[in-house]
Every structure is written in C-alpha cells, then in structure tokens.
C-alpha cells in the first residue's frame, strides 16, 4: 500500500511522518509489519534526512490504511508528549504499544519485556531524529527572534498543538508561532 503521511513545519524545519502497512514476503505464516518513516528537511538544504524503522508487527488489521494512519497519529502523539516533557504519559503510551513494563493488572514474561524494549529501540531512531531536530529548530527560532520566551512553556504549547494535530484529519500544520507578546515572553 501507499504511505500515509502527515507533515508539520516549525520555522525552517519541515517534518514529515509517513507510515505504511505491508505484508512481509517469504514467510510461511502470514506476517505483517507497519513501517514508519521520518523525513526532515531544512529550508535551503539540498538533502533531507530520512529514517525508516519497523513500528510494530500487527495481526492482520481490518484496514491497512487505518493501521498506517494509527501509526502516524501515535508517533506524532509521542512527539507531542516528549516536547511537552510529559514523561509519565509518554511512558504509559509507549508501554501500551510495546508492553515492556509489567503493571499491577498485567504480568509480563521476561521474553516480552526484552522484546518490547528491543522494539522501542527500533522506533526510537526516527523518533530521536525528529525530536532532536524539533528542539534545535525551536532554539534556533528563539535565538533568531531574540525573544526571552521561556523554553518549557514554548515546548508545552507546541507539544499540545502536535497532540491536537495528531487527532485531526488535516495533513499539514505550521507550528511556527505567529505572534510574540509585547513583553516578548509568550507566543501565539
């Protein structure tokens, strides 16, 4: 199937998150994988950074497109929580997807724990690139603007907007703040 994608922009950074669901060839049993791809492009740069990773190995989903959309939304949500520095929520969501921590309600064989942590490692490569580039773009934008905007408040605001965008049907969002308050400490 084709890639499903959503894009976000922050200042001079364009971030595209793509996902596709596909059946893996050469397996006796039907086997499936949802792949995630991150494309990072800085304005004026000739090349983009592209990172691809397996997102998860689902059982046959009802719709390949829905599965791919879910992966893109999930990935953007995690980015939103990371930006907002909401670590507990990020852990809860990663654990729901990769089941690497036992909970009071769910015991976990150590094989699942080890495999879950390994699965997270795979998806973290594109995730880390996207997160690090967003942080750099935010810092660069603050420096260019010379504004005294508090970083944690700005990150929380952007994280919130990414979370909203993840749930929307829209394919693109520009996260660059359009207005800076007169005292230069907050944005809209």
């Amino acid at each position: 199937m084709e890639w499903v994608e959503k894009s976000a922009r922050f200042n001079n950074l364009a971030l595209t998150v793509r996902a596709r669901y596909r059946r893996l060839p050469f397996f006796g049993e039907p086997s499936h994988c949802t792949e995630i791809k991150v494309v990072l492009t800085l304005d004026g740069a000739e090349r983009s950074i592209v990172r691809v990773a397996p997102f998860r190995y689902p059982k046959t989903p009802q719709s390949a497109e829905e599965e791919a959309k879910r992966a893109v939304r999930r990935f953007l949500r995690w980015l939103g929580f990371a930006l907002a520095d909401d670590t507990p929520q990020l852990i809860a969501e990663l654990n729901a997807e990769y089941a690497f921590l036992p909970t009071n309600e769910r015991s976990l064989p150590s094989l699942d724990c080890v495999a879950g942590l390994g699965g997270i490692h795979d998806v973290f490569e594109p995730f880390f690139y996207a997160f690090a580039f967003l942080l750099m773009a935010i810092q660069a934008w603050r420096n260019e603007l010379g504004a005294e905007i508090e970083m944690s408040a700005l990150r929380a605001q952007l994280g919130e907007r990414l979370l909203q965008f993840a749930e929307q049907d829209a394919d693109f969002v520009d996260l660059t703040p359009k207005e800076v308050s007169a005292d230069g400490v907050s944005v809209r």
Binding site: L90, V114, A115, G118, H121, F128
Partner: protein, 197 residues
C-alpha cells in the same frame, strides 16, 4: 590503542554462546572517556555460519585518579564487568524474574522516573530508554536461541523434563557463572536425567 577484552563462553546442547566485551577510548575526549561494547556470538554445531550481535553497553569516564598506564587495567575491569552483568541479565530473563531484571536494567540505564526521587526530562528518558533498547538486541538474540536450544535438547533426548524448570535451572547456573572469576567457559547441558525423566 586496543585494550584487553573479556570473554566468557557458555554451551547448552548444540548451542555455544560467547559473550565478549571491550572498552574503547574515545579519541581526544576530555575528560577521558569511552564506551564498553558488548558482542555475542551464537554458534550451532554443524553450521558454518554464526550469528554475531554487537551493541554499546555503557559509556564511562576514566576515573579521575587513573594514571595513563593504569588505563588498560581499568578497561579490562570494565569489560569483565560488562560480560558478567550481561550474563546475569540473561540468567534473570531465563528465570523469568522480570521485576529484578527491570530493577537492574533501570539501575544501569535510569529509564524509569521515580516520583520525588528521580525526575527525568523527556530527553533523558528517551536517551536512556534508547540505550537500554540497544543492548536488548544481543540479549534477545541469546535468550531466544537458548530457549530454542532447551526445546531442541528435550526433543532430541526424548526427556519429559519441564521446559520452565529447565529454564530456571539454566538461569540460576548463568547467574552463578557470572559471579565466578577466572572461569571462562561452562557447559550447562544436563548430564544426568533422573529415573522418571
């Protein structure tokens, strides 16, 4: 400069596992530091090819009081520690003691925030979780191969021994082996089967 590596080998049935670690110094780093790399080699009797998985184990600074000529000793101790810790985690995973495994992984990589004790920013959390994830690849490879080797041994010997208790026994042997100094190889293939098998 190449520092000495540490190595321990384990055998079960037709599977041989070699765990090796080596500390590499980063060039021109200040303070002087390096990465301990862990690698596992999986070999099956009669098969030419082998599986090799390598991962960074942990990053360490040289101790402040470490003189240049003492660096190889530090590197060797660090490598030995990595091999023993890896074997211990493998043992805990085989025993299925997931809580103890998580506690030890968390001690090493600090990827779980603890309320009012260890606050983690999302960047720290993500970095640390990624680090623990990278060492899981060789761990998962050895774990799954050992589980397969146990099942293969049961089928080949036609013994009705319970696979879970065999895993626990092997896990305990691995934990004990990890604590032994000076022993570099152990064969954990069961030598005797009791009368009721």
């Amino acid at each position: 400069m190449e520092y000495p590596c540490a190595e321990k080998g384990v055998r079960f049935g037709d599977l041989t596992v070699v765990v090796r670690a080596q500390w590499h110094r980063w060039p021109n780093s200040e303070p002087p530091g390096g990465t301990t790399e862990i690698s596992v080699t999986l070999m099956r009797d009669g098969i030419d090819a082998r599986i090799v998985k390598t991962a960074p184990f942990r990053k360490t600074d040289l101790p402040l009081r470490c003189l240049p000529h003492e660096a190889p000793r530090f590197a060797e101790a660090e490598a030995k520690r990595a091999v023993n810790v890896f074997l211990r985690w493998l043992g805990l995973a085989l025993i299925d003691d997931v809580w103890q495994l998580l506690i030890e992984l968390d001690d090493a990589y600090r990827f779980r925030p603890i309320e009012e004790v260890r606050e983690l920013s999302s960047l720290e959390f993500l970095t640390n979780l990624r680090d623990v994830g990278s060492v899981m690849e060789p761990l998962l490879a050895v774990l799954t191969h050992l589980l397969c080797a146990i099942h293969v041994w049961r089928l080949q010997t036609d013994v009705e021994a319970d696979a879970t208790s065999m895993c626990v026994q092997l896990g305990e042997q691995l934990i004990a082996f990890a604590e032994q100094d000076g022993v570099r190889f152990a064969d954990f293939t069961p030598k005797e089967v009791n009368a009721n098998a």
